[in-house]
């Protein structure tokens, strides 16, 4: 009988290996193609964003798929990770700190701040349910965006100055440097992200999320998702595990933010990149890839990030086609009729194959 569950262990193990393998293979192939000079600049430029979005999707899947709560504020955590880390890197830019170490510390700072915010926000938020929880996460995301947009931070010989109105209110000394300039955000963040770092961070994210899911804590989290009352009745501490999942998810979104911030020389908190639109976009990756399906999240985020770029040839019709493709893909992936049809086709395919085998 033990064999049976060994088999299951092996199956998840194999499943995870495929996921890691897929990422590593993509990395190796891309590196070979890049060094062979056959990869377009567009695609090369997309490599880091692809890693960023894959990390975001995987991390949100922890909240949506594993914890089972709908969050519409994920971009807010990304925003916190991006701004705190970019701030640090900017402050440290002209010091003796080697850039590798600086990025590593920035990464820790971004993840830690996002995680702490996740925890702080999670405490009140996770008491709510379903769509109420969704709207409150959305609200938090928007609050973060709004506050970052009017945040001014400067540094001079007297230390840091903070204001929520304008640079003049910082009362800085003449030689002071304004690091975060409200809507203008942070400019000139050192360009420390690259594809290799992106892939490593994606693998680390996968490692954390997959291992968490298949551990005692992951089981507890999924139990809460499936039936809170029953989970309580067997002694699972609901708040603790909800917060754990939520803040790990937030911290990983922070990591994506760090990657994002160090890939571009400007960092502004616009509705486009850190607003609810982005949160929803990440949710789209998760749902399209399959709720709770980690590998699917990666694939969906890659497809949906590449799609609008590949459609550039269509010019004005680009986003129109994109939206239609999104709807069609959703129907194809989720509509029960389509699923049935796909299964039938797959079954037909299989039986043909086996018939062939028998014939051989």
């Amino acid at each position: 009988m033990k064999k049976l569950s060994n088999k299951k262990m092996n199956k998840t193990f194999r499943d995870n290996l495929i996921t890691y393998g897929m990422v590593i293979a993509a990395y190796v192939i891309m590196q070979i193609l890049v060094s062979a000079g056959v990869v377009s600049s567009l695609l090369q430029g997309l490599l880091v964003p692809l890693c960023t979005y894959a990390i975001l999707a995987v991390s949100l899947n922890l909240t949506v798929g594993i914890l089972g709560e709908l969050s519409l504020g994920h971009a807010g955590f990304m925003c916190i990770g991006a701004f705190t880390s970019a701030f640090f890197s900017k402050v440290m830019e002209n010091t003796a700190m080697p850039s590798g170490l600086r990025f590593f510390v920035a990464l820790l700072i971004g993840a830690a701040f996002a995680g702490i915010f996740g925890l702080l926000i999670g405490i009140p938020v996770l008491r709510l349910k379903g769509d109420y929880l969704a709207i409150v996460t959305l609200a938090f995301g928007e609050i973060i965006k709004n506050l970052v947009n009017i945040l001014f931070v400067g540094l001079d010989e007297n230390g840091f100055h903070i204001s929520f109105t304008n640079t003049m209110d910082l009362n800085m000394a003449e030689d002071g440097q304004v690091i975060i300039k409200g809507a203008q955000g942070i400019t000139g963040t050192p360009h420390d992200s690259n594809f290799t770092i992106g892939i490593v961070l994606l693998l680390v994210t996968l490692f954390i999320v997959l291992n968490l899911i298949h551990s005692r804590d992951g089981r507890a989290i999924m139990a809460i998702r499936d039936n809170t009352i029953a989970a309580e009745s067997v002694g699972i501490h609901i708040t603790k595990y909800k917060l754990m999942a939520f803040s790990i998810s937030a911290a990983l979104a922070g990591v994506a933010g760090v990657l994002y911030a160090h890939n571009l020389s400007t960092l502004t908190a616009l509705p486009k990149n850190f607003g609810y639109n982005m949160s929803i976009m990440i949710l789209v990756f998760v749902v399209l890839g399959g709720i709770g399906n980690i590998r699917g999240s990666i694939i969906a985020s890659v497809i949906l990030t590449l799609l609008p770029e590949l459609l550039r040839g269509l010019n004005d019709y680009r986003m129109l086609i994109y939206s239609i493709v999104l709807i069609v893909m959703m129907l194809f992936n989720w509509a029960p009729k389509c699923i049935e049809w796909r299964e039938k086709v797959a079954a037909g395919f299989k039986s043909k194959k086996s018939v062939k085998k028998e014939a051989e």
Binding site: P336, I339, E340, E343, K344, A347
Partner: protein, 236 residues
């Protein structure tokens, strides 16, 4: 001709075939029992008859009309009511609202009021609780509500899916009495039950279902004395 004729239906859930060619018929005025183990497909058959599921193959005729071709919601107004498994009362509506929902297809307000009276007579507890939210009723109370709701449409035939589940012994008896009364008042009954003994004792004929197929049929009294039935379903 029989009132309800089910002819060689096959029903699937996605790729899984739950009903593998089932035929049976119900004559007007009869009480027919459908018994079988857990997962045999009893609920699936009732769902197919009342239009919640569509058979992949086969036909279902009710009073000469082919039900498969008729949109599910029209079946009620033809005179068929269904007391679903697990009651499925509208939890956030009041008891009274639930009952009125049962009369959705009927127009005449006075007749509806009359039916309501008879339902309240039959289930005094429902009258007491008519303004309580249905979701907070106890299991037994919900079962009464589900039956009352079905009766509100004034059906010619009523399909009941395990109406005695979770009920107290006295109430099980009561439910079976009610079923008999309903039958006596002229309504045909198709009854699915785990409590095979009770079901067979009030039924005219019965069908025994095993993993999606009918394996035995006959007069209820004969089946009650059938040894294999006794062993498999009556716990004797």
């Amino acid at each position: 001709m029989a009132m309800l004729e089910v002819n060689d239906i096959k029903v699937y859930y996605g790729m899984i075939q739950a009903i593998k060619g089932v035929s049976f018929h119900v004559n007007e005025g009869e009480v027919i029992a459908l018994i079988g183990a857990n997962g045999a497909g009893k609920t699936t058959i009732l769902h197919t008859v009342s239009g919640l599921l569509t058979p992949k193959e086969g036909s279902i005729t009710f009073e000469g009309q082919d039900l498969v071709k008729i949109p599910g919601h029209k079946i009620v107004s033809m005179g068929m009511a269904h007391v679903p498994e697990g009651r499925r009362v509208f939890a956030q509506l009041s008891v009274l609202q639930n009952l009125m929902m049962g009369a959705y297809t009927r127009k005449d307000k006075e007749e509806i009021a009359q039916t309501l009276e008879t339902v309240f007579d039959r289930f005094p507890r429902l009258k007491e609780r008519q303004n309580q939210m249905a979701g907070t009723l106890s299991g037994g109370e919900q079962q009464m509500l589900a039956m009352g709701r079905a009766l509100m449409s004034h059906p010619k035939i009523i399909l009941m899916d395990e109406p005695s589940m979770g009920l107290s012994p006295i109430f099980v008896n009561e439910i079976f009495d009610i079923i008999q009364e309903v039958s006596k008042s002229g309504t045909t009954v198709l009854l699915v039950e785990q409590n095979a003994k009770k079901a067979l004792s009030i039924a005219d004929r019965a069908y025994v279902l095993e993993t999606g197929k009918i394996v035995l049929e006959g007069k209820a009294s004969d089946l009650l004395n059938n040894d294999s039935i006794k062993k498999a379903y009556l716990g004797e």
